[in-house]
Symmetry: C2
Subunit: 425 residues, 2 copies
């Protein structure tokens, strides 16, 4: 049941954009047991688009097409789909009305160019877009089902799950299952070494790795005689992976995030948090506040970028800055104590370091970062020498700070739990 993916857009064939849509869809189809036999990207060129749609529809059962549904003159997908199918374009009044309403909801009037987004090949099935102006559509061409969605990832993801999955789920072989384990704290080659030989212990299982700095996702993919056998196999292998990787695994599931896993522990322990960050410049706070409901536990994040702010806002002793500098274990400790005093939070974390590319010295090189995490019973200070460019230093430092909070919160939640009650049989 081979599937094909087609992404339309000159920004792809000119290398201006990395095609993350294709890998996202391929991953989802693979999870359904549908094999992707080709991924193509082509420019906004009418002849190329028509030709490619015809060729793919003769060779594949499912073709998923993204991009080229926008309002501008280089958006040609609907017209080309109609030409490939040998049918005219037809205006779909309910879609036009939906687009008009969407604009009205922003207090704006629909422009004339948006009207073409309501033109579809005759006989297609329209796939509504709940969060954008461009609807998609489903078209039968020869023996192939073609699905068209916008290229905007957030719209495509939503439409894939809501509009396309119901059509392809019945085609799924359902003999495959996948478990996603998210890890932080070791590189891909180290993780690979730790898991060496594990596939041999679980016939039918293959391990895949996806590096999205600084996390590594381990994908445990299993095939079985039917879905439940595959799922049981994937689950067993995932337990073995967790056994080998220990604390490096922070969560499970493709949508899991590091901040979410930390926030669950804080909520469970009813613990509040405050942050003082310097070289990470708001990254720790924005990772946490990307989560809905983070206001329940996050009281304050002070991005104390200047020395003056460290003194004025957090009450860091000027003598510490003079004697040890802002990038020092002493300053990290004073920052964490200061922010805890200011807000009265249960936990606090502080980061101060040199993100680079300038600002380093022989004594304190770029990438040197101090962390302090404070709780009800203790304050822990850590020094790390990080490598890579500014963005990597900032990103790793922000994750590492959250990891320190997570570890301390786990200890508090576990040790504060009441002792298990034994029930007489």
């Amino acid at each position: 049941m081979p599937a094909a993916l087609l992404s339309i857009g000159t920004e792809l064939t000119r290398g201006e954009l990395v095609n993350t849509n294709a890998s996202w869809i391929a991953d989802r189809l693979t999870a359904f047991g549908l094999e992707v036999e080709v991924i193509e990207a082509i420019p906004d060129d009418r002849a190329v688009i028509v030709d490619t749609l015809r060729r793919l529809s003769t060779r594949h059962r499912v073709v998923i097409v993204t991009g080229g549904l926008g309002p501008t003159t280089d958006d040609l997908t609907s017209a080309c789909a109609a030409e490939a199918a040998g049918v005219p374009l037809e205006r779909h009044e309910p879609s036009l009305e939906a687009i008009r309403r969407r604009f009205a909801s922003f207090g704006r009037e629909m422009g004339p160019s948006n009207a073409k987004q309501a033109d579809f090949p005759r006989g297609c099935e329209i796939l509504p877009n709940p969060i954008g102006t461009a609807p998609g559509f489903k078209l039968q061409l020869g023996g192939a089902m073609l699905f068209f969605t916008p290229g905007v990832p957030v719209e495509m993801h939503r439409m894939f799950e809501e509009q396309i999955v119901p059509h392809i789920a019945p085609l799924a072989t359902n003999d495959a299952a996948q478990v996603h384990l998210k890890t932080f704290g070791a590189g891909e080659s180290k993780i690979g070494e730790m898991l060496e030989g594990l596939e041999g212990e679980f016939p039918g299982v293959t391990l895949g790795y996806r590096a999205h700095f600084p996390e590594i996702e381990v994908k445990v993919f299993a095939r079985g005689k039917h879905r439940s056998e595959a799922q049981a196999l994937a689950d067993a292998a995932a337990r073995a992976v967790r056994g080998r990787l220990g604390d490096l695994v922070y969560g499970e599931g493709r949508e899991e995030t590091f901040a979410a896993s930390m926030s669950r522990v804080l909520r469970k322990g009813k613990l509040t948090l405050s942050i003082a960050e310097s070289c990470t410049g708001g990254l720790v706070g924005s990772m946490i506040t990307a989560l809905p409901g983070s206001s329940e536990f996050l009281l304050f994040d002070g991005v104390v970028y200047s020395n003056a702010a460290k003194v004025q806002v957090l009450g860091v002793d000027e003598e510490i800055l003079r004697a040890h500098g802002a990038v020092s274990a002493e300053c990290a400790q004073a920052m964490v104590e200061g922010v805890k005093r200011l807000t009265g939070s249960d936990l606090a974390v502080a980061i101060t370091g040199i993100a680079g590319p300038t600002g380093g010295s022989d004594h304190k090189p770029v990438g040197l970062v101090y962390f302090a995490v404070g709780g009800p019973h203790e304050t822990i200070v850590k020094e790390r020498q990080l490598s890579g460019d500014r963005q990597r230093v900032q990103t790793f430092a922000a994750w590492y700070a959250l990891k320190l909070v997570l570890d301390m919160a786990r200890d508090l939640v576990e040790t504060s739990a009441p002792p298990p009650v034994s029930i007489a049989p």
Copy 2:
């Protein structure tokens, strides 16, 4: 002179890996004026590979193939290239010797599986790999030049520059040029309408749009008789685009960012900045501090997520919170005044709103955000009703806050400039 790119590997068609090789090569070929007409990725499947190589070689002048040159059984590229060309594989002794030496240099012995990396289609030209075990090769197939390299990005990049560029440089048309204009403040359809008809005024120019929420990039692509004519045409059309879009254009160049354009104005005016953000949770600070050297002007960013932090850190009057709530024009104004008082910065900006998905009411719906920007002469407060999910509300609000700072900083820098000196002729 259309080129094609082919990436071979089941890790791509299963979505385990994003195809960054393709965008890298496409960008390099575009710079040479070679148009990429298709990018394909296919699995490690012999029939599919042979078929695809034959099809691409009949349609394209240059085909660049990455992946499948490794030592394992699923590395099939050389054998498939030989089959597509109708020639046998032949062992190349100097390559075998080079692979053996490479292993010896790590103190290891070459394994038997690596020997197949010295097997090439008869008649090809071998492309040495200076930093890996797998050499590449160049093969003429019909009218097409096919280049094969390993899929490891660092090896591919080096081999592309050293081994492939000398072959394709003579084919380069060098008749194209591109200008990238970055905009914020209007959607893609609005921008498209504002630029309608502009292509007609500049024959040889095509406009492309790339939406990366909340910015829209306008790409002005021009072809001319030679490079300098194309560049002059692209520049002239870009000036016309700027004329139509006005202040919506914040900068030029593919690497330009909104925070960088704002920071240049602040540095030029030697203006310092402090921030008080609530619903954006550190996003404004992290956008700015992603820039090297931002410590020169950013003094402090207070993420005052709780009401207590607004009072304790910024000195917001509790009466304001009681009477108007934290999401109010009054609170935004008190926040901006508080953070300016705390740090003594020249400029300050404050954001308070409801990012959602919960926390809204009839009176104050999700997406309602208040902004205040304060400078030496005035404080301006704005109310905006934003739409979309939490991430979109936060992202748009952070950009809008930076836009307010940018506009106020521009006014200060321009009005504080000394009057022009007239020189007597």
